[in-house]
Symmetry: C3
Subunit: 375 residues, 3 copies
């Protein structure tokens, strides 16, 4: 245990790049809202079931109360009450500051509630903040503004190009809409125009057709932006039947030919498939964000499984935090502990040296992200 | 190890609700029949391969011989001989009595051999016995009795309604016949009548068409019965290609809108997918029955994986025992040990408190089942 | 740990049957070529990513340098330099001799580089060498020689029959071309002739149509040869979307009716599905070759998962080594350690006796392969 503790202390000294997260709530939340924001369920559970009684709930109660001056394992009501007493601003400040981040890459395309943007997050975290451009949001804004169908593609493309210099990556949520089964080639202009026409008939346009998602990915590729893909685990809309990263193989291959990195986010329960893709395709990178938080005490198992086939130079850290400031902190903490446990375990077994462990820790905590995003 | 032992002792004091099992053989079995009943294979194995040489075989030899006054790890022939000497009635009595059950929910729709029914099982186990109504069996009885196709739906529906007050749940074996890919909406009357017409042309009618399975589920939903679904692992007929619970998502969603619980049974090797569904859909509950027994010494790994995303208020215990009385006992024993190991491990690591562990143990061993079935 | 050491020593004394491997490079390789041969990636990685920084790379650096008189954990450059100094012949000799093999079954159908054949491998290893006949290679040779389409089937069938007495098994690479989704029945003569006609239009014919792969399997079945199937993990061409062994179930069932064994190779990440097939189908055998090497320090987890449902009489050892002599040695070493760890762990827990552990070790290391191949 001494060596594990030493590796953990070393990892705690390493600042993390959280390469995919969202904003945090500006306002206070009550227990029902807190519980609903804790997992991917839409609400806190049916009568008799609390989402606090889950791996993420137990992990939160273990690690977060001390940051708010409570004892570890505080009960849900006490915790939410203390949180309200401190107020959202103070809670956000404490958890972001305690996360030990060097940089955050913030997907700004999803904000149904009032949330803090990249600059405010970076300031609270004492970290560099970068923006990730959600592709579907660009298309939906263009559609809502009422360009005609023939001009849609050019307008979308030009906005993505214009934003490219100020963001570090693009993000595709095809998995939430049409699913990940996409061919590798670009859709034709006619396909895009036809789909755009259908999109613009809606008052609140939402991209849902596969050729439009693919068109957006190619706009990002042409603009030289690494593309982050939602893969696997998410809320009920993230239809897991169509969320296996293997479905994306043709497009990943075409992106590899174009020399553009693809980042597979989350991946659970398909993380072994993602690890395979990271080994056989030079441009593919993987993380286990969102799931690490949700698995709580089991997070180390997920990381170990991800690191079976994925080369250590292809694995990144993300929290996928949204809403609750606890999730940035808990994600970072569980990730550090999981990585430390795995690396120290290998040193204990003589499977690798402590120098190798240190080098891998630097790659995964920040080096890989810095290299691939050029940050 | 002291704490693990204490948690195990506490769990051993908790009576279990076995929310899905079948009847046990009334008659003695020889070694070939015993071996065939041990796993999901149709027979004991090809020349040179014994099903006793498997995780379930080793687990049975570890735990069951002492109940029959033999030493642990007795050889297969000695074990089967001792079993015959005692006679089926005594063997059934000993294993059921030793299982530590508070209640059994017995699927009575599958009885190719002479087996004990719910009342007899409950008496042997000193437990409340409840019945689970197999939906396809109702439809096949109606079809065999020769109602005309136009009257089929009404007759089936009325029989299910009539049985509803005296059973705790319905059971669908769609996975064994048409697979789990079902839309959410009700089939039309015409679809049901056409399929019923085809069904009744057979001397021994077997429901095999997807709309009929779905019709039966909706009959149960309308009768307010929780529906148990066979999912994943089973014998060769349980075609795993069509047994992934994700395929059921539309129907589960529609059942959620109708306010009716769905219980996903077995789930291996798709148990992580099942855990996801239990998190994102309020009406979905899961277990790992059948597989727990078959994994033997690895049962704890399966339970840990199931409990990654599944909220602790959504997980139930079942043995799925059929035929051999050993399977009720072994299922309960392996489950208690697996749960105790996981809960005590978390207490040892400081991941949760022993009070939390006790509360989760009560939920999973009986509380969740009692709440959802109202027993 | 004392008992684990004793079991490991016992296992180290047991010679292994490596029931599926390829030839080893005759010539020296530089670092780039070495790294490319290490994993299933086509090259060593994009800038900044070394394939040595992976589980297999760390495992190789842990275990292989001492065989070349270097310290464990030697750096990649030192290792490759030492390898060149010794020369390929000496390197091959050392690793094969150290692998502890009783027999090798060598797939001779894939040789893009100059590699040693079965006889030379056997001599270096001090082991019996057997040949595995790659079915697609036979068909491609016939096609390249310009037989007419109507005569293709008879000629292929007659060559397979002629080779049958001198080989121990046939090998299908359908997974690499058309995928594993195959019906069980034989393709019609017309289907085979039509596909053969299309095949022969190419200067370098490659079997790619599903009916041709299936035809080849049936030729092997008719010749009484066990058939090895590539399943799951492999390079980018081994499209994992179509590599799940469950897709093969109809053909496996038909082969079972014909009384011919089917060996599912590799299987990762579908190894639990493969274990299920090994339980429910009497003629199905499984291994975890290739993946064991690539998982390195995690190899034991893979073996444990494979051995959940697979009866112990249905599991074989293979390295799937190709090219680097290290892979025969590392595969054998990781396999022995993984099996020893699992078996000794069970003895420590009282889950099975040391006699049972010894018996299972003999089955899996050699007995099952000897029985099923008649060697």
């Amino acid at each position: 245990m001494g060596r594990k503790r030493a590796v953990l202390e070393y990892l705690e000294s390493l600042p993390l790049v959280d390469h995919h997260c969202h904003g945090t709530f500006e306002a206070d939340v009550d227990r029902a809202a807190f519980e609903a924001a804790l997992t991917e369920a839409e609400a806190g559970g049916p009568p008799g079931v609390s989402m606090f009684d889950s791996q993420i709930g137990f992990a939160l109660r273990r690690w977060c109360p001390p940051v708010l001056d409570l004892d570890a394992h505080a009960g849900p009501d006490d915790y939410v009450e203390r949180r309200a007493d401190l107020g959202a601003a103070e809670v956000n400040r404490r958890f972001l500051a305690a996360s030990g981040l060097r940089a955050l890459c913030v997907d700004t395309g999803h904000a149904p509630e009032r949330i803090l943007g990249p600059a405010a997050l970076g300031e609270l975290a004492g970290a560099d903040a970068h923006e990730v451009l959600r592709l579907e949001t660009v298309a939906e804004q263009v559609a809502a503004e009422g360009v005609d169908a023939s001009g849609f593609a050019a307008e979308v493309r030009s906005r993505i190009e214009a934003r490219a210099p100020s963001v570090v990556a693009a993000k595709s949520i095809a998995a939430y809409r049409a699913g990940l089964e996409m061919p590798g080639h670009r859709p034709s202009d006619a396909e895009v125009a036809a789909a755009a026409g259908r999109l613009m008939r809606h008052l609140e346009p939402r991209v849902r057709e596969e050729p439009l998602h693919r068109f957006l990915v190619w706009c990002a590729v042409d603009a030289g932006l690494p593309v982050q893909f939602h893969v696997g685990y998410g809320d009920l809309d993230a239809d897991l039947r169509r969320g296996d990263p293997l479905l994306l193989i043709e497009l990943l291959r075409a992106m590899n030919d174009a020399g553009v990195p693809a980042m597979l986010l989350h991946n659970y329960p398909f993380h072994r498939n993602a690890g395979y893709l990271a080994q056989v395709l030079p441009n593919v990178y993987v993380d286990a964000g969102l799931a690490m938080n949700n698995l709580g005490h089991r997070a180390h198992v997920l990381l170990c499984e991800l690191l079976e086939l994925a080369p250590f130079g292809k694995v990144l850290y993300s929290s996928d935090a949204y809403g609750l400031a606890e999730l940035y902190y808990l994600g970072a903490l569980l990730f550090r502990r999981a990585l430390a446990g795995q690396l120290a375990g290998g040193v204990d077994d003589g499977a690798w040296t402590s120098g190798d462990a240190r080098r891998v820790a630097e790659m995964i905590t920040r080096g890989n992200a810095e290299r691939v995003y050029g940050i």
